[in-house]
Amino acid sequence: MARVRVQQEPFDAGREIAELTRGRRDVGAVATFVGMVRDANEGAAVSRMSLEHYPGMTERALEEICAEAAGRWDLLDVRVVHRVGPLEPGDAIVLVAVASAHRGDAFAACEFIMDYLKTRAPFWKKELTPGGERWVEARSSDDEAASRWSGGGRG
């Protein structure tokens, strides 16, 4: 069901949503998340970023995260697009779009996929700041966000 893509090119959020729902009459709710590069992180200005990933495992991890979401909620379709390579502030990095009959399922699954993606999908960000290049450190807040879901259902 899920369609997962990893690509250098920009994506068009409207087109992804349209493709998720095209020709369907059973979708009542589409929840979409778009993550973007900010010009500041951890107190430093960020002028550029590059995203590395683990080809093969990345796609597999994203598919598994989507399958887990589909097992927890009633979903009609899921789309995940994650960019890699060089990015600038204002660029979109990731899109997660979830179609469901009802909004509760769509919202919960979209947030779940993002939380799991943040802690389980093998991507790494490197930022260029006035102090030079630096690898972004994982945040404990992301681990906490992901652990909310481990009891099953909403945290």
Binding site: G35, L51, Y54, M57, M114, T119, W124, K126, W135, A138
Partner: protein, 84 residues
């Protein structure tokens, strides 16, 4: 033999993206590979010192020290992920 892959800051720190090593003797596990790496020079023993935050995947699935290994496996080491 198994293939070891290193990503992101770990790859840079070790100056190594990929290598092949012999499987540890006995019942090979990820833990045995990590012991082999810790026995190398300071750069390597530092990177894999107890308490260091790193993750491991075997054949592209998340794994841990107890995960068993067989010839031809792909073992990847990397820092905690920061995508999204």
């Amino acid at each position: 033999m198994v293939t070891l892959l290193y990503f992101a800051s770990l790859r840079e720190r070790l100056d190594c993206a990929r290598e092949e090593i012999a499987l540890p003797a006995g019942t090979p596990t990820v833990g045995g590979v990590v012991e082999t790496l810790r026995a190398r020079d300071g750069r390597w023993s530092d990177a894999f010192a107890p308490g260091r935050a790193w993750r491991v995947a075997v054949n592209q699935r998340m794994a841990d020290l107890a995960t068993p290994l067989k010839p031809g496996d792909e073992v990847a080491f990397f820092p905690p992920v920061t995508g999204g």
